[in-house]
């Protein structure tokens, strides 16, 4: 295969066409071009790296945390060191951006919530699979949904919120929407009629801020590193406190649902054969070999990556499908 002036080689016609289409799109939106301009290095002909050209990873950004993009610098450098490929991360502003980037093949890999993976699975099946997730230092591989209310409010139980208002996170959020609604139904509560009104806040931080500001009575958030019995050492309620957005003493958790399997790294299976094994190993070694990068990503020391597969998320896939069927037959609660 002829090598291009920029060092591309072994590109198929289809790939070239796809790249040209993307470049056209990028060119039409100068804002998106900032920071993007990696050259493809000379890669050994016939190698899997030459087949891929570069590694593209989609992540969901956090608008409330301006440093979230910078946190990926260490990951990028680590993946580049191991694979020899230039690594690009694409930060989507919402859940759907990551989902569609993986489903369309625009990226090779992504980090996404379990329900987002379920959405991808519904679109393309095994063309993308979950292959690694985080096991927290406490040994848990999952987390919980929790309903937060203002500590000065009279609400003590879920039943107290009947006819009140709630902020969910996003339709594609596992813990902020899909999983807790299923749990409520299992407990005999129809969330579409139980709450007087619900909003989609766009993130757990935004949901908590909306609750703290009195825009809604309750917020659906994520908590982890513990159980309802031991309490939770991590979660949205801790994060907003550290950022000075909401005083942790003003938040009370009154209901939990879980556990939900931790967010997976999802990888396209139509990439060269060694890719998935190398990326799984690259992730797994990170907390042991580069603990500073692990912590830079907001992870807590003592945690690790563990392998997962489609079976790990089968329950969430079934939940999402059931929720969609429910919404189609009875409304969304909006």
């Amino acid at each position: 295969m002829k090598q291009t002036p920029r060092g591309h080689n072994r590109k198929t016609m289809a790939e070239e066409k796809r790249v040209r289409r993307c470049l056209c799109l990028v060119a039409s939106i100068p804002m998106l071009l900032a920071g993007c301009g990696s050259d493809v290095p000379d890669l050994p002909p016939g190698s899997w790296q030459a087949d891929m050209g570069r590694l593209r990873i989609a992540v969901r950004g956090d608008e409330a945390d301006p440093d979230s993009a910078a946190r990926w610098d260490g990951y990028r450098a680590h993946f580049e060191e191991i694979t020899g490929l230039p690594v690009e991360t694409f930060e989507a502003t919402d859940y759907n951006g990551v989902i569609q980037a993986v489903a369309s093949g625009q990226v090779d890999m992504a980090v996404m919530g379990a329900a987002s993976y379920a959405n991808v699975n519904a679109q393309i099946g095994s063309l993308a699979v979950p292959f690694a997730t985080v096991r927290q230092a406490e040994g848990t591989m999952g987390y919980y949904s929790a309903i937060a209310v203002r500590s000065g409010s009279p609400y003590r139980t879920l039943a107290d919120l009947e006819g009140k208002t709630i902020a969910y996170v996003d339709f594609n959020s596992t813990s902020g929407y899909v999983f807790p609604r299923r749990t409520m139904r299992d407990q005999g509560i129809d969330p579409d009629t139980f709450f007087a009104r619900s909003i989609m806040a766009g993130g757990a931080t935004q949901a908590l801020v909306a609750m703290a500001n009195g825009r809604v009575d309750a917020a659906m958030v994520t908590v982890s590193a513990g159980t309802p019995e031991t309490g939770f050492a991590a979660g949205s309620h801790i994060t907003v406190g550290r950022r000075g957005l909401v005083d942790p003493d003003d938040i009370r958790l009154i209901w939990t649902a879980g556990t939900i399997p931790n967010s997976p790294f999802v990888i396209r299976t139509d990439r060269p054969k060694p890719f998935i094994d190398i990326m799984r190993g690259a992730l797994a070694m990170l907390p042991y070999e580069k603990p500073e990068v692990w912590e830079q990503m907001g992870q807590v020391s003592g945690g690790t990556f563990v392998p997962v597969n489609e079976a790990t998320y089968a329950g969430v896939v079934a939940l999402r499908n059931a929720d969609i069927a429910q919404r189609r037959s009875g409304g969304s609660g909006q």
Binding site: L32, E80, G84, T93, A101, E138, R242, P248, D277, V300
Partner: protein, 289 residues
């Protein structure tokens, strides 16, 4: 239709973080670096012998392992009998094999060129617990050895974590005496500041969360010093040469950590307890005391 979805997806991506870290425009060192061209794996046998990829004496687990690893690495895989771990360690150091199961004793003589890369997860909820020992800045304690026999404070907010921390401390040589169990990490800190102990020990995750604080600008660990951090030592670990190419290292690791899930027959040979295979740090076989 596909093109439209692709376009929408791309538009949805904010390229705020797009780009690459320094050095990626240069010829990629890892891609250009050599990778393994064969994997020779040591196993314990009555007598040391030649490496072979098949033998009528291999059990189904060994055969499954060779087949699985060879297919996934895309290179020949052989098993090599060794009468002792010390011999296997030396062969590893000499570049005659690529992987060997070693322990602290057998790796000691070759640890400058050989290191552990993966081990079986110990059958405990938390695996190998990482512990931090912290003291006040002004304390004369400078190391784990100095901290031995000193009054210690440990948070007990999570009983499973507490048990893991105590097991790690015991394994590295700390007696279980003279430990004050505080109800929470914040109360452990208050006890240290109040002079109720000289050393605070906790799981590294507890330490991180303690030091992050709970409100904006809070820096609870100011005035404290970390004197030791480490995990429970592993009894044995699959080891490789320190110059193992990174790509091959990642590929070997990626294949092995998924082995129990993907190929139980092969996993049963290399990880007889059938607990996960997990990575291990370079010092994972060593005891600090």
């Amino acid at each position: 239709m596909t093109g439209r979805i692709a376009s929408i997806a791309f538009l949805a991506l904010m390229l705020a973080a797009c780009g690459e870290s320094s050095g990626s425009n240069e010829a990629a060192p890892a891609a250009a670096a050599p990778v393994l061209t064969q994997v020779r794996v040591a196993f314990e046998a009555p007598a040391t012998g030649a490496c072979v990829s098949s033998s009528p004496e291999f059990d189904p687990g060994q055969k499954a392992y060779i087949e699985h690893l060879s297919e996934r690495m895309d290179i020949p895989v052989m098993l090599c009998p060794f009468a002792s771990r010390t011999e296997a360690a030396q062969a590893l150091a000499d570049g005659q094999i690529e992987l060997a199961l070693l322990d602290a004793a057998s790796i000691a003589a070759v640890k400058d060129v050989v290191r552990p890369i993966m081990t079986q997860r110990i059958p405990a909820d938390l695996g190998r617990v990482e512990v931090v020992l912290a003291v006040m800045d002004a304390s004369p304690i400078q190391s784990a050895a100095d901290a031995r026999q000193r009054p210690m404070i440990i948070p007990g907010e999570n009983s499973t974590v507490l048990a893991g921390v105590q097991a790690t401390l015991e394994q590295i040589g700390f007696a279980k005496t003279d430990q004050l169990i505080a109800p929470s990490r914040r109360e452990a800190l208050a006890a240290l500041l109040g002079g109720k102990g000289e050393v605070m020990a906790m799981q590294s995750a507890q330490w991180t969360r303690l030091c992050r604080g709970e409100t904006r600008g809070e820096t609870p660990c100011d005035g404290l010093r970390e004197v030791w951090r480490g995990r429970q030592p592993a009894e044995e670990a699959w080891s490789a040469r320190r110059d193992l190419p990174l790509e091959s290292w990642a590929r070997l690791l990626g294949i092995h950590i998924a082995l129990v899930q993907e190929n139980p027959l092969a996993a049963g040979w290399i990880a007889p307890a059938m607990t996960e295979i997990e990575p291990i740090e370079a010092t994972g076989l060593e005891k600090p005391l």
